[in-house]
Symmetry: C2
Subunit: 201 residues, 2 copies
DNA sequence: CAGGGAGGTTAGCGGTCGTTAACCTGGAGG
DNA sequence: CCTCCAGGTTAACGACCGCTAACCTCCCTG
């Protein structure tokens, strides 16, 4: 056991660099030779670790979707465990988790809604199902907090707030943006404000 | 004169279909043969109208950026013309214009922040400059309405609201979404709420 | 110390893609 | 009526790309 912070494996290096390159230039815009070069091996050496270029993208997208969903489920369970936390606190927790992810894994967030259609049917269905579960989980929390919101409106609002939170890659003109904590707090306030305004409140 | 609603020219057909295809499958994911097929001619026939595939993308992106910017300038001028319209009304006008665009030209909105890096240097610089002007114009209006917002925070807020408004393609699961007017109004309220929350208000 | 698998390498194949070349055609204009 | 050009066509070229094949090395293990 203890695969904790054990020096990243080759596979992980490859995935990380592939994610960065895919996000920068698009799935079709990156060649396997470039991905190989980014980790110091070259070209076909990648096939010792992955079945193909598609498999890398699939693993990335499935991984993101699973990680978002399980994180959200965990946060929701924690809240319910304390015997009915205030709905605002639950929503705050979801928002915080999403922001952490968007700020720490920018390339993945970019891929997440940009390259989904490049997947093979089976993988795409899986990813979409995970994404849908994630959205529905948010919708439930939002509607608990704003009961006057109809379900379609709540779903639209959730998608829009994702758009807001996922805008972080655009803020990333290297360097100068405030600091991480400040950005996170600003995004958090805006997300809450957007939901509040979506309802009648 | 009077090139009003004169049956769309071939060039316009091509641009429209190319925008749709680029948005669906990415610039590198679409072949010239497919673009040709989409307008009923095939493959190299496109070269009678465009210098190349890059030129189509460039024209699309420059067109979008110019159209957004000139629209916003017009709205701002109208407001100032009436001798100092309330800042809220100016912001509402900007938001409304952006939403109209996002709802009516979804493929273009998608391309706008997704395929910018596939342009040749000169075109990319031009597009970025237009985008920057557009952002700065919003930043000015937002800061006039919320003077307590610092410039970096205002700029971040503007980018985030763009993320929110540009999320429309994700709402577009064919058919069932509310109606256009309802969606527009929801997005408008959320954008205003997000800005208000960004400031201390 | 034999051997074998994990993880590389380079060469090259087959397919696709953007683009050019060469040719064709219908209809407007002198 | 001849001409010519705008706007198509098909063929083909060269580049590139994903992937496989064949081979080579460590290094770990019995």
């Amino acid at each position: 056991m203890a695969t904790r912070t054990d020096a990243p494996t080759r596979r992980e290096q490859i995935l990380k660099e592939a994610a960065r390159l895919f996000a920068e230039r698009g799935f079709h815009g990156v060649g396997v030779d470039e991905i190989g070069a980014a980790v110091g091996i070259s070209g076909p050496g990648l096939y010792r670790h992955f079945a193909g270029k598609d498999a890398m993208l699939a693993e990335l997208l499935v991984g993101i979707s699973e990680s978002l969903l399980t994180g959200a489920k965990r946060r929701l369970a924690e809240a319910d465990g304390v015997g009915g936390t205030a709905p605002e606190a639950v929503l705050d927790s979801l928002i915080e988790g999403h922001i952490d992810f968007a700020l720490d894994d920018r390339p993945l967030i970019t891929l997440h809604d940009r390259e989904l259609d490049r997947l093979r049917d089976a993988d795409r269905k899986l990813v979409r199902q995970l994404q849908r579960q994630y959205v529905e989980l948010w919708v439930g929390v939002v509607r608990r907090l704003y009961p006057d919101l109809g379900e379609p409106a709540a779903r639209s609002a959730v998608h829009s707030v994702f758009g807001l939170l996922n805008s972080t890659p655009h803020l990333t003109r290297p360097g100068s943006l405030p600091d991480r904590a400040g950005t996170a707090e600003l995004l958090h306030r805006m997300a809450r404000g957007a939901f509040a305004a979506a309802s009648g409140a």
